[in-house]
């Protein structure tokens, strides 16, 4: 036989081959370990702007990412969802952030194709300042809509007293506070009120900016929190962490199953689990008024809005790298600031979207 010698026919050659393969495996393993311990490398600067709702977490994420990727510089300006989207449209920033997903009409009006990546889940709470009342108030959906429509004007309204039986509420006017800027938090709040109140849906509707029937405006979540903190008898709406850190009392809200539920890391994930994708790959979802037994009803996904392609490939690579980090490692930091991590299925689809976007 003149064919090539078979390895199995030569035990010595096979031993050599085995040794060689083993050596290669060790070498691959060693190189893998070395790469894993090296800091990630990415050159470039990214500037983002938008929602104040997730700002405390994005600040933390950027600081942590900066430790892992020393050459990268990411800046984020909390100027409100609406202003952030406009800045991205004008090409003044590299990415935007919003708690209100863009509609099809908004998407088609963008000069370049953008993708929306959900990052975490947060809750909007009715925060109040009632001097002399340290207890926790309860609100029904109808009460919140009526207060913001201006049909309930005083704290001692019988409808408020009916659900807060043990508290002697004061005979003083409710000073309503809302956002003055174009805001994703306003979108979440008005989206919820539109779902629970036909009167609100007809008269005001859901948007990042609405014609408020009553109240005074303040800019950003921080602005509303400060306004509530300094105004006696006020009621406003802010993202959960702003109420917690701002020493604000916040109420429990009755959910669809009839339970009064406060925002927490037990009730927000319950709401997140109720997500319903309109179609595969489209991650725009509303989870307000979720059906879960202990679901907090005013919860929302918040999003990064990112161009599908970057003229500067280095920026594109850095954006992808940051998004991947945020959707994996970053998720584990979210609870430290009261945000719920994305449900596994949503995170998976978001990662797939990034894979296809850059």
């Amino acid at each position: 036989m003149n064919g090539p010698p078979s390895v199995s026919a030569h035990p010595a050659a096979r031993r050599h081959l085995d040794m060689l393969l083993l050596g290669c495996r060790f070498a691959v393993l060693a190189i893998g370990c070395l790469i894993a311990t090296l800091p990630l490398r990415a050159d470039g600067t990214l500037v983002g702007a938008g929602a104040t709702f997730p700002f405390p977490l994005y600040q933390k994420w950027i600081a942590s990412f900066d430790e892992k990727v020393p050459d990268a510089k990411i800046q984020y300006q909390p100027i409100g969802s609406g202003a952030g989207i406009e800045a991205l449209r004008r090409g003044e920033v590299d990415f935007a952030a919003s708690d209100a997903p863009l509609s099809d009409a908004q998407l088609s009006s963008f000069p370049r194709h953008v993708v929306q990546i959900p990052t975490v889940v947060g809750g909007v709470v009715p925060a109040y300042h009632l001097d002399g009342y340290a207890g926790d108030l309860r609100f029904t959906p109808e009460l919140l809509a009526s207060i913001y429509l201006g049909t309930i004007t005083h704290w001692n309204d019988p409808r408020l007293k009916a659900v807060n039986g043990a508290l002697r509420l004061p005979e003083r006017p409710i000073r309503v506070v809302h956002r003055s800027d174009s805001s994703g938090t306003t979108y979440v709040w008005t989206d919820y009120l539109s779902k629970v109140s036909p009167a609100w849906r007809t008269m005001v509707g859901a948007a990042t900016e609405v014609q408020w029937p009553v109240g005074v405006g303040a800019e950003g979540n921080e602005g509303v929190a400060a306004q509530v903190a300094t105004t006696s008898d006020s009621l406003g709406y802010v993202e959960f962490i702003y109420a917690v850190r701002g020493h604000l009392s916040y109420g429990a809200v009755r959910n669809q199953s009839g339970r009064f539920v406060s925002a927490s890391l037990e009730t927000l994930p319950e709401a997140a689990r109720m997500f319903n994708l309109l179609k595969p790959g489209d991650l725009r979802m509303s989870i307000t008024n979720a059906t879960g037994r202990t679901a907090y009803p005013i919860a929302a996904f918040t999003y990064f809005i990112v161009p599908q392609t970057f003229p500067d490939p280095a920026k594109g690579r850095l954006m992808t790298q940051f998004l991947r980090w945020a959707l994996t490692f970053g998720q584990k930091q979210s609870a430290s600031l009261g945000y719920a991590a994305l449900p596994e299925e949503v995170a998976k689809q978001a990662l797939e979207t990034i894979g296809g976007s850059q």
Partner: protein, 179 residues
């Protein structure tokens, strides 16, 4: 060997007189106890370094309370050298008095018997040796007017924190992402 002794005791006990039987039982109990202690000692141990919790009002007390609870955990060894730690626990917290409630419903004003109602929060993060966050959580007071706000907040965190450190890394990733 212990098992053999216990089995041996079972065989020999029937033939032993009253006081000896008692002694055998005591011996068997002591051996079982030492076996249990040994199992606990063999189980996974975590060397934990607890970082400062910041300078906000009540943060130091929250840290002390959490440290006290961690000291009671048999599988945790607190270390003072960060270089020797398997896990790093960092935290941020604050406690304050939100207001007072009178204890006498007949009195419309607050008197000396008024009870404080506390507000606050505790945020805890666990990092591994590579300084990657493996778990985090935030709690707010659970019970209205809790007498001991520190105990309320750290009590809510400790069980979840121990679960986070006990889980194998793979399951931890899964658990965190599903939260």
């Amino acid at each position: 060997m212990w098992l053999a002794v216990v089995i041996g005791k079972g065989i020999s006990e029937a033939a032993a007189p009253g006081p000896m039987r008692l002694l055998h039982r005591f011996g068997a109990f002591a051996m079982l106890l030492s076996f249990g202690v040994a199992v606990l000692a063999i189980g996974p141990h975590f060397r934990v370094f607890v970082e400062p919790f910041g300078s906000k009002s009540g943060a130091a007390e929250l840290r002390s309370d959490l440290v006290r609870r961690l000291e009671k955990e048999p599988r945790v060894a607190l270390v003072s050298d960060p270089g020797a730690a398997d896990f790093f626990v960092s935290g941020e917290g604050e406690t304050y008095i939100k207001g007072y409630v009178g204890t006498n419903p007949r009195v419309r004003y607050l008197n000396g018997d008024a009870r404080p109602i506390y507000g606050g929060y505790l945020s805890v993060e666990v990092k591994d040796r590579a300084h990657d966050t493996v778990w985090s959580y935030l709690v707010t007071p659970r019970r209205l007017g809790a007498e001991d706000i520190n105990s309320d907040l750290t009590g809510q965190v400790i069980r979840k924190l121990m679960e986070a450190m006990t889980l194998p890394r793979g399951s931890l990733k899964q658990k965190t992402s599903s939260q």
